[in-house]
Point group: C3
Chain length 207, copies 3
């Protein structure tokens, strides 16, 4: 299994868990769990593959991600009541999935002939769109809108770290490690310690 495929499958698993947790918050049945798990799990990578005109889309080429998402959804359906805060689990798993999916997006984009800016966008899009679709369809405020939390910012920094690492140690695992560590580190720092960039504050117009 190639690195890109491994990363895709890992992010599929973790995003599927977050999708199923969102379904549990909406009190759906087990098929609803599978629907949200699959939507969240393959959403970002599907957008990436459509944009890059990869044919076929990764989960059409090999349906393993669908099986993973289904398994994760069923697992959560029967065990979610065991955890103390489903929202907390959702947010932390989302952070892990975001980090891995950014790395997956960067890895796929780098294997194709596209510019540096496009690689960065593909990392961010692969990382953020699955969760975004989950939140929009589940009628929740998208995590990208959470004021003063590092989310898109963490994804951009992680993709940037991968690009810098690729200059220093191309073709090695370090590109992926740098990406995941940066994205997850910044997101975790934001959740735990309130790390943030200055946010826009409307001020009265100058006199």
């Amino acid at each position: 299994m190639t690195l890109a495929l491994t990363l895709d499958n890992a992010s599929v698993l973790i995003f599927a868990l977050t999708g199923a947790l969102a379904a549990s918050r909406a009190q759906l049945d087990v098929v609803g769990f599978i629907f949200f798990a699959a939507l969240t799990a393959v959403g970002g990578g599907t957008l990436r593959d459509l944009l890059l005109d990869r044919d076929p889309v990764f989960w059409i080429a090999d349906a393993t991600p669908l099986a993973i998402a289904t398994g994760a959804a069923v697992l959560v359906f029967f065990t979610a009541h065991l955890v103390e805060s489903r929202l907390k689990w959702l947010i932390w798993l989302d952070a892990a999935a975001l980090a891995i999916a950014v790395a997956a997006g960067v890895s796929v984009a780098r294997s194709m002939e596209v510019g540096t800016g496009v690689v960065l966008v593909m990392g961010v899009a692969t990382g953020t769109f699955g969760g975004l679709m989950r939140d929009v369809v589940a009628n929740e405020v998208p995590l990208v809108l959470k004021q003063g939390e590092l989310y898109v910012t963490a994804a951009v920094a992680g993709a940037g770290a991968a690009l810098i690492a690729s200059l220093l140690a191309d073709g090695t695992i370090w590109t992926t490690v740098a990406c995941i560590a940066t994205t997850f580190g910044l997101r975790a720092g934001s959740l735990l310690f309130g790390w943030r960039l200055p946010v826009y504050k409307p001020r009265p117009p100058r006199a």
Copy 2:
């Protein structure tokens, strides 16, 4: 006209009626009716064609669906005040369109070289995404989120029925009949008699 095309056009017509009814609830002008009718009518099939890399997308190859959606929208604009409950019509027409669109998705996917799991997903995606886009853009709670109603579940069961029927009587109309009857039957049973699967109920963590 092939079976897949007939199914696409039938689901386009009925989904277009639901899109126009959604526009009537938002009190838009006639062009707004056409916009929502077209979005709902071709949304699911467009996603399916993009995912399967069918080129061109069905309504670009032949603009008949756009004409059907426009006609349906104009019709609803001038007659919707005649019906007693527009929401009730919307929900029942949506059930019919869902059933036909699942069959259309399965039919197209089966004509391409993709695995069984992908056929099932294409049926469900074709069936649900038009209505999902209608509800998200119209700022209404998506029907897929309606707690305790069979919706995605009906679509999955219908696509599954088509796959089983195809083992028994491949290449015949029975595949389509099984799909439509199962999807619509389950959805109707859910609306009329409250048929449902057990839904997730958060319980306190075990001691």
Copy 3:
């Protein structure tokens, strides 16, 4: 630079400003501004390119639009507090971007072998989907839903004007001028003078 590319870049710039203004209303950080600017700026054109199977998508072929969107987002982040009503700016810039993007969509679609109805749809889709995605992700009521305002209607009329102009003066700039003037003129008239089409009003069913 071709006409279609010039129009794409102009609409990218103005839509990016509206995306950044939406981010300012959500009080995001500068990376959030860039995210919303890019989403709004390339959303409509990306959908158009995916539907028409243009490969590669315009901002993958040449990353200039991403640079434009980033610059616009940073500019707005540091200057938005200087304007008196950010919502007013957002709405008027959106009107300008809508007009230019409809022209860009029509221009690209006319260069491909598609029917008249499809050209019209591509104009409207290119014009409206960037703003629609901005509003859906930012959790605001989509402008297409604003009751009694010409929005989709202005886009359809503009695309229609381009088609008529192309019959009279094909291959000239007048097609584009007619499209932009019609779209922006109707939208502006709607905002300033309340121009509108009759909207649907539910009436009691006839006795």
